[in-house]
Subunit: 408 residues, 2 copies
């Protein structure tokens, strides 16, 4: 992509009404734009990151046989009355009227997915099965805050699994823990994200959150010094020892909840009377789990974790482009050659071909935070200055060597 | 994909409350599910088609430099009051309240995209520029009908271009006609889709629709027998001759509007006072065009055009899988080999490994409509029965020959 063609531009000043580093940097870099409190547009560079996050998650979920769907945002009141959540969640549900019908905008999709699966799943032989989607959710937050971490409209990966027994749910749930660990590792949050025990509600002892440690976090967690699992403050009083290893030494940290997994048991299948024929022919309730990852929240959290005073530092796996090519020549002969060669070799390149000063190009490269900055200029004498954003490692390399170093 | 693992099943009976062939077949095949009137869930097979449609469109739009974004559904009343459409479109806008604020759910995105571009585009040098998105739209249809052709919630590709002059808009608009022609050709609608003159509103003589001829269409068009362009009935009285070639012979047809393109001129940029500095330094209004394709509508229209009494007949470019492999052996030795070999060769395969009768497998294969059906059975004697869904061409081929015939 030629930067001169990119319609977004970096902003000169930090937006005043955004306190969080992630929103400041994403806005300043032109990754996102704020339409109103808690509602953001995702711009080309930000959308490229979202696509990479979704591709990583999709690949992991498809590998365990989960099936992708796309469920409606408009959901009839009747379904939400069936589960009782039209009342219990009324403070956060956006509602819409048409004639004498009432709808909610989905803040979650249990009320849609359970009746859907009920149409197709009739026997224990049809289980287990899991579906997921990437979709916009709506939540009537009174005071949206922390940039894109807590919005009124936000992208989620939500996933629902259905089982013939609690044992099978437990098996799947443990497998999902492995899947989530791999996902957070790939997007650059693995080392600072802790599986965290949280309140399980009335029907399950615990749920689990994935909490990423950062001072910008809204939550407080206690990390067990023996096994590295954590406990959310909401249950700390009731849980003085680690439920995993009985450790008693904890360190308190602020953290962002980037995902959660929940054993829903029969909470949502029972109200819809979703039963299957068991192996013995007798009807039995379907057991359910759910698994969420906030995509916008993950985007913001990655920036929160990976930035410095100059800008974002994207992990390579989620960066909108691998290379940021800066042309400081008066002509574009060498830069064009590098740009074309890298793209032919299968790499993604943002090519700063703008007629602006070297200082602006360097500052924007730091702000945008692509993993590898390449500079061609009269000073590089036909070679390319290669710098890794993460650690400032700099080297002078030839084009052939560069391509060999980065074999796709 | 092993069909035994696919959670959807084909339905035995046609849904009674769906009059249109496309909705009947898509529902019967488990491609979509109806949540309520005008609101559908997209299931794995349907989602795979949607992904292929989006990939075709995305590739064409990226090739002309359009940039992908993702804009909010929740939009503040103020923006819609600025353009006057809070009043003029109130019959079809869903509205949402929160405290003393009112929002609409986007039925289109001019009110969001114009102020967004205004933040980044300041000079004639920043133009032309075009952005697009694939997004859920909401429309308060009183009587949604024709299955997924006219919904309350639906997927759209919407695109907006911005120009320094009417001449530049005209140039881009003509280029978009070529792009749309290529898109409709690729998805299997090219031969029956006519560029159609329609009402241009107060600020433009004509807009253009892409109308696909089918008896199931809601619109009536008049196709010029000289140049094959068409005229929408809404302007036929005022347009007795073809605006393109002055032809006077027309054939009346029913048709579905699958896309439209519109010269918006300064209709939406003026209310927001979106001006740029011209080459002479003086401020001038930005000129705008918009370009839509209904994705759900395209899905339904393809089925409407490509089906027979037995089911859907997917064009290969948009089919959820290329091959439908039916195993009629008692064991899976041969079928597993074919399944694995084709996948290793880069093909997509739906493998009917279910323990059901051959009759059910054949009927489902016709209903689901994948382009190439492969049958392995004791009768095929180690070979594979190869049948094209579109014309029933059948042949007995070896696995090597099959792979050679279908080089990716």
């Amino acid at each position: 992509m030629r930067q001169s063609k990119l319609f977004t531009k970096t902003l000169k000043h930090l937006p005043k009404d955004e306190a969080s580093s992630n929103a400041q940097l994403l806005l300043k870099g032109g990754y996102i734009d704020k339409l109103m409190a808690g509602v953001y547009s995702i711009l080309p560079l930000g959308w490229a990151v979202v696509n990479r996050l979704e591709a990583i998650i999709r690949s992991e979920l498809n590998s365990i046989g989960a099936q992708e769907v796309f469920l409606p945002a408009l959901q009839p009141k009747e379904l939400w009355s069936t589960t009782g959540r039209w009342e219990t969640m009324k403070d956060i549900l956006y509602t819409v009227q048409q004639a004498d019908q009432e709808y909610t905008l989905g803040s979650t999709h249990e009320e849609v997915v359970v009746p859907l699966m009920q149409k197709f799943v009739h026997s224990y032989k049809d289980l287990p099965v899991a579906v997921y989607q990437f979709q916009t959710k709506f939540r009537r937050e009174l005071r949206p805050k922390s940039g894109i971490l807590r919005g009124r409209e936000f992208l989620m990966k939500d996933q629902y699994s259905f089982h013939v027994s609690v044992e099978d749910l437990n098996r799947y749930y443990d497998m999902m823990k492995q899947v989530y660990q791999r996902i957070f590792q790939q997007v650059g949050l693995g080392d600072v994200t802790h599986l965290t025990f949280a309140s399980g509600g009335a029907f399950s002892k615990y749920s689990h959150e994935y909490q990423t440690v950062t001072p910008a976090g809204e939550d407080t967690i206690y990390i067990c010094q023996q096994c590295q699992l954590a406990i959310n403050r909401e249950i700390k009083a009731d849980t003085p020892v680690c439920p995993q290893c009985q450790g008693q030494e904890f360190i308190e940290q602020r953290a962002i909840e980037v995902g959660n997994i929940f054993k829903l048991m029969a909470k949502f299948t029972e109200p819809f009377n979703f039963m299957v024929a068991g192996a013995d022919g007798k009807p039995q309730p379907v057991i359910m789990g759910c698994y969420g990852i906030g995509i916008g929240r993950m985007l913001g959290t990655i920036v929160e974790i990976h930035h410095d005073a100059h800008g974002i530092i994207w992990p390579e796996a989620v960066s909108p482009y691998t290379f940021h090519l800066l042309n400081l020549h008066n002509d574009s002969v060498q830069a064009d050659q590098v740009y074309t060669t890298l793209q032919l070799a299968g790499h993604t390149v943002l090519f700063d071909d703008r007629a602006v000063s070297a200082g602006i190009k360097f500052a924007d490269a730091d702000l945008l935070g692509l993993p590898i900055r390449l500079v061609v200029s009269p000073k590089t004498q036909g070679k390319i200055e290669y710098r890794r954003r993460v650690n400032d490692t700099t080297a002078l390399v030839g084009l052939d060597e560069l391509v060999k170093r980065h074999v796709q």
